[in-house]
């Protein structure tokens, strides 16, 4: 949600600057990566290609972290079994 003009410090000074770990960047995307686990073979290629990196592994399962996925689509392009689709964010 945008802040109001009055809520922004003069000159857009950031009094408590944070890294992208704290501020999250997922709102930038127009498409999001969605993994179909019926097709996923847990090869880890998406994890390797994700530039963010916004894909993590838990119990041998690859999961998209939507706080950071910026919707670039590299994972969907590289997935060898076409298990990842790019879904429009507003849909």
């Amino acid at each position: 949600m945008p802040k109001k003009v009055s809520e922004i410090d003069e000159g857009f000074v950031m009094k408590a600057p944070k890294s992208s770990m704290a501020t999250k960047t997922g709102t930038w995307r127009a498409f999001k990566a969605v993994i179909d686990y019926n097709k996923c073979i847990s090869c880890g290629i998406c994890w390797g290609y994700c530039p963010e990196p916004a894909i993590y592994v838990k119990d041998n399962k690859y999961i998209v972290d939507y706080d950071y996925c910026k919707g670039c689509g590299l994972c969907a392009q590289e997935c060898p079994v076409k298990a990842i689709t790019m879904a429009r964010e507003s849909d």
Binding site: E10, G11, F12, M14
Partner: protein, 391 residues
């Protein structure tokens, strides 16, 4: 109070010394050079306790001024022509970061061909950078406006950069008696003010950070609003200045505009010549008047429209062009201001004085005659014309 023989440039240097500026960063360029040269002398001989940073380009000159200002220092920089163009991108940053940088500009033509003489092409190319922009008409006004600029820029309601325009050579290098204000009065009038958000290693903060689409618009809007709302502070600074100096300039100088058939509107040093010709022509029975605009940004649209509404026609003199447009930058401003306030006065544009081409008495007379013709015929035959170019 002293009466000194100063050029426009050295009058500004003298004011900068009295204002006890902390950091001066500049790169020499004709006709600005003597302005900072004199300041460097003040620093070298101990008359001004400041850091003088001789940078390698104007881009760095303004960057140093900006960052020093961000840390709370009172700063000054100055430039001209190509140097001002090189500062262009930093000018936007200075205003949106809300830093009270004061810059003197020795207005000069822009290459090509290379030309060191006066026109307004350099500053008009900076029109939309979000700075307060003021034009002086004399060395005295150059001195006075420099003192006013710090009071305006550093005011809590403003916090914006100010550029002061002095016509290259015509003002910057012409010596005239300048009456100064006493040091104590200067420091009382424009006291050093501290801002709360400053660069300081003890309390880290970010300036100039990323403003993604969720934030940029509001940040930009904030600085636009600040410029729009700076108007009363500028007027107030001029009025208060009168109390210590006895001199007041206003947002424009209007001369013989009452009952005028035509008004010739200009900016900068040419105003004096125009008034003289207006005086002579009035003596001959022609009802002509002069309006010399001092404040270009924020543009005093309502006041200009009100004043021009008395006339039967308006001639706008531009010392710059906007090639391909229907008129020069000042003309476009005036036309849209007349139209927006529903003032039905026909206007035409004269471009003159480019690259230091002299604007003589006969040229000014011909501009007034064009205006009188429009006033009598109620018709503008040519929206824009050029005076002084050999066609």
């Amino acid at each position: 109070m002293k009466r000194l023989l100063l050029s426009g440039n050295t009058a500004v240097s003298y004011a900068v010394k009295q204002l006890d500026v902390d950091v001066v960063s500049a790169y020499p360029i004709t006709p600005q050079t003597t302005m900072v040269e004199k300041i460097s002398e003040y620093v070298a001989n101990g008359e001004l306790n400041a850091e003088f940073v001789p940078v390698e380009s104007e881009h760095s000159a303004l960057t140093v001024a900006l960052t020093a200002s961000a840390s709370g220092a009172r700063v000054f920089t100055s430039t001209s022509s190509q140097g001002l163009l090189l500062m262009h991108e930093i000018m936007f940053i200075t205003s949106t970061l809300r830093l009270p940088v004061v810059m003197g500009i020795a207005d000069r033509a822009v290459s090509a061909p290379i030309n060191i003489w006066n026109d307004h092409s350099d500053i008009m190319a900076q029109r939309d950078t979000g700075w307060i922009s003021i034009f002086a008409e004399s060395a005295q006004e150059s001195y006075d406006r420099t003192i006013q600029a710090y009071r305006i820029a550093e005011d809590d309601r403003v916090h914006l950069p100010v550029n002061l325009n002095f016509d290259g050579f015509i003002l910057t290098h012409t010596y005239e008696p300048v009456v100064t204000v006493d040091d104590e009065d200067v420091s009382k009038y424009a006291p050093r003010k501290t801002r709360s958000l400053l660069l300081d290693p003890r309390t880290p903060l970010t300036m100039g950070g990323l403003g993604s689409p969720e934030y940029y618009f509001e940040a930009k809007y904030q600085s636009i609003k600040a410029l729009e709302e700076s108007f009363p502070t500028i007027v107030d600074a001029d009025r208060e200045f009168e109390r210590i100096s006895g001199r007041k300039y206003g947002i424009f100088n209007s001369y013989m505009t009452e009952g005028a058939d035509t008004i010739l509107l200009s900016m900068g040093s040419i105003g004096g010549s125009i008034r003289e010709i207006a005086r002579r022509m009035r003596g001959e029975g022609s009802k002509v008047g002069s309006l010399s605009l001092k404040l270009f940004r924020p543009f005093p649209a309502r006041q200009v429209a009100d004043l021009l509404s008395q006339a039967e026609s308006v001639v706008v003199l531009d010392k710059a062009t906007s090639p391909g447009a229907i008129g020069g930058p000042l003309f476009l401003e005036i036309q849209s201001c007349l139209k927006s306030f529903d003032v039905q006065v026909p206007a035409m544009n004269i471009v003159a004085g480019l690259g230091g081409r002299d604007i003589g008495p006969d040229d000014i007379r011909s501009m007034f005659e064009r205006g009188l013709k429009i006033a009598h015929t109620k018709r503008v035959d040519k929206i824009q014309d050029y005076v002084g170019v050999c066609q």
